[in-house]
Amino acid sequence: MRANKICAVLGNIQRYNALLPLTNERPLATLPFACKYRLIDFPLSSIVNANINTVYMIFNEGETQSVFDHIGGGKEWNLDGVHNRFFIHLYQDFLKLKAHNQSYYRPLIDYLEKSKSEYTVYMSSKMICNIDLRAVLKIHQQQNNEMTVVYKKVESEKICQTDAVLSLTDNGQITEVRPYMEHLQTSEQENLCMDIYIVQTDWLIRELKEGQQEGTPADIQDFLRKKIHTVKSSTYEHTGYLSNIFDINSYYNASLDMLNQQKFSSLLYSNQKIYTKLKNEVPTYYSESSEVNNSQFATGCIIEGKVEGSSISRGTVIDKGTEIIDSIIMPSAKICAGARVQNAILDKEVVVDPGVQIIGTRENPVVIEKYQHVTNDILANGVAVGDIER
């Protein structure tokens, strides 16, 4: 495929309060996932794997520190070459222009025009998947419509209120786009709109120019969603793995999904690699006292305790006599001797004192914030002290 045939826009401005405190100091896009990745690695990898050489990313003001830390010069995604570039723009700058009645899509329109690309793909970091955008483009070209929408059939509990759901005819024609509302739920499975769109670039530029006269939303994702029904759109059904991240439970479940070999392989061992920031870490050491089962580990850890059904990120130290069960441990945690962590999510650099118990439930995992030093037992609602085996 010619290198500048498609350009990409990656939107990362949606906030989900149900993910707090995990998204206190970071956007959803840089939430750690599967020991060594961040959510943004998935759309970014799908984009570069499709030989797309320019990406325009939109973030909220004040949320870019972890983004720059992670993406750096873009080298790991091969976005630092002579022909390969990425741009970062703040959503609030669109809003400011809009408030001053100026042409608020102008920065994006400039980008699209300069890219000289025929097609534009839009993605976000909320839908974790490894998608072959070239296959989507092929369908888009065959159908010859202005827009192609990617969706997946999912169980209704995997959809959140702000998601859009598509009603389709048998041959994939969109008959309705509606916000998802639990009380109106009609079937077990819904066609979740994954907010991945391929559009004709010149059409998009035209629509943006017209739209900013009429006050259409500054949020591009919102803008595109509203277009689905107003133009001729085709659909593409994603059949691979998908996790929709919008609250603690969806994040926890998606993380535990990675311990299922089939799902793990579908996401991370497909023919398209997932790229992430490289770290120069030492191999993970499992001591004589370690007891590990059905778990995943990044490098740089020292494991001396028992780990079961858990995902352990880079640089974690797990002392002797500890038990880590069904838990997600983000980078550089230190779990001291005799501690027990079950059904919990530990954010970066958490320290758990000796003998401390952190116990949640499958439906209600305990979340420990970044940098916390846990000195006393923490039990989720519904867990009684008597339930804990000492």
């Binding site: 060594k36 191999p283 499992y286 001591s287 089962n293 995943q296």
Partner: protein, 373 residues
């Protein structure tokens, strides 16, 4: 200048298609990483890597030095290979000859001092400290030495010194060693002097091919100021199967004095991208090192699994070093062995290295029966 052109024939099939410095080590490293990381950590900015024998993997690995942070504005790694000049082409015939052939590269840097290293040792060393000693002694040549047990001294080049650490005599593999200071093959030269010595030697007929055999003796005879720099710390020559296996086994222990977890002196390597390592329900892992991309369903004891190694259910690996990409089938037993990169070990195979460390070569396929039809 890192001399990485040696054939490493004592490593047998492990160096059949790959230069010794490029042989994998410790799970996610290659042997040359230790020397390159020492250079980066010592603040050396320009490194020439002299390659000759089977250089493909080595050149790919070293690349432009970016993995060691040696690709900055005023720094760089240059791969130096034998070339044909107007006077004809020439293989590097010895350590000193390799330097002589690359005078043009060194002149371009115009350095005051030249550090000569070999790319096949496992150790951490601050070369700047050695340079300080060299300067303080106003030496023309400083040779790094290590105290070795006296009964092993006859395997090394031994430096006999006076009370000021000045080298009085050099003996290559002496039968009756007079001291236990073994040369580590690490030299600091005053470049202008070495340049003169080499040029004058090659303009006549007494070609100086080797530092140990020719240059050091000639320096001593010429009355040059030659000193030792005493190094104390972990140092391992991994030139044989046994020593490579042994060094890897020592590497497992997190308490070992190489201290690879020291963040102030990191050992860098070329990073490849692989998913996290996955240990299944049936896995049991003790006293071992495992890195990214591994899939483990078997039992691992006191062993190293490098990148992207797969060990299926029912297999047991003890006291072994498994190189990247190797695939171990079901119900395999491996004890005291080195399994080469990309090797495939079929179901039910037994590799027992109790007598002599077992070796499976790169991409070698063993114990796999082909189904007919």
């Amino acid at each position: 200048m890192i001399l990485a052109g040696g054939k490493g024939s004592r490593l047998g099939k492990l160096t059949k298609n790959i230069a010794k410095p490029a042989v994998p080590f410790g799970g996610r490293y290659r042997i040359i990483d230790f020397t390159l990381s020492n250079c980066a950590n010592s603040g050396i900015k320009n490194v020439g890597v002299v390659t000759q024998y089977q250089p493909l993997a080595l050149n790919n690995h070293v690349d432009n030095g970016t993995s060691w942070g040696l690709d900055g504005i005023n720094s760089g790694v240059t791969i130096l290979q034998p070339y044909a000049g107007s006077e004809g082409g020439k293989w590097f015939e010895g350590t000193a000859h390799a330097i002589y052939q690359n005078i043009a590269y060194i002149d371009e840097m115009n350095p005051e001092y030249l550090l000569v290293l070999s790319g096949d040792h496992i150790y951490k060393m601050d070369y700047e400290e050695m340079l300080e000693t060299h300067k303080a002694n106003e030496a023309s040549l400083t040779v790094a030495v290590l105290e070795v047990p006296e009964k092993e001294a006859s395997r090394f080049g031994i430096m006999n010194t006076d009370e000021n650490d000045r080298i009085i005599e050099f003996e290559e593999k002496p039968e009756n060693p007079k001291s236990n200071l073994a040369s580590m093959g690490i030299y600091i030269f005053d470049w202008s002097r070495l340049r003169e010595v080499l040029l004058s030697s090659y303009s006549k007929d007494d070609h100086m091919l080797d530092f140990g055999k020719h240059v050091i003796p000639s320096y001593l005879e010429g009355g040059e100021n030659v000193f030792v720099y005493r190094f104390a710390g972990y140092w391992k020559d991994v030139g044989t199967i046994d020593s490579l296996w042994e060094a890897n086994m020592e590497f497992i222990n997190p308490e070992m004095n190489l201290d690879i977890r020291d963040k102030s002196w990191r050992v860098y390597s070329r990073n490849t991208i692989s998913p996290p390592n996955f240990l299944t329900d049936t896995a049991s892992v003790t006293d071992s090192l495992i890195v990214d991309g591994c899939y483990v369903a078997g039992q691992i004891e006191n062993s190293i699994l490098s990148n992207d190694v797969q060990v299926k259910e029912g297999s047991k690996i003890t006291d072994s070093f498994i190189m990247p990409g190797a695939s171990i089938g079901r119900d395999v037993t491996i004890h005291r062995a080195i399994i080469g990169e990309g090797a495939v070990v079929g179901d039910n195979t037994v590799i027992d290295g109790t007598e002599e460390v077992g070796v499976v070569g790169y991409s070698e396929v063993i114990g796999v029966t082909m189904d007919e039809g």
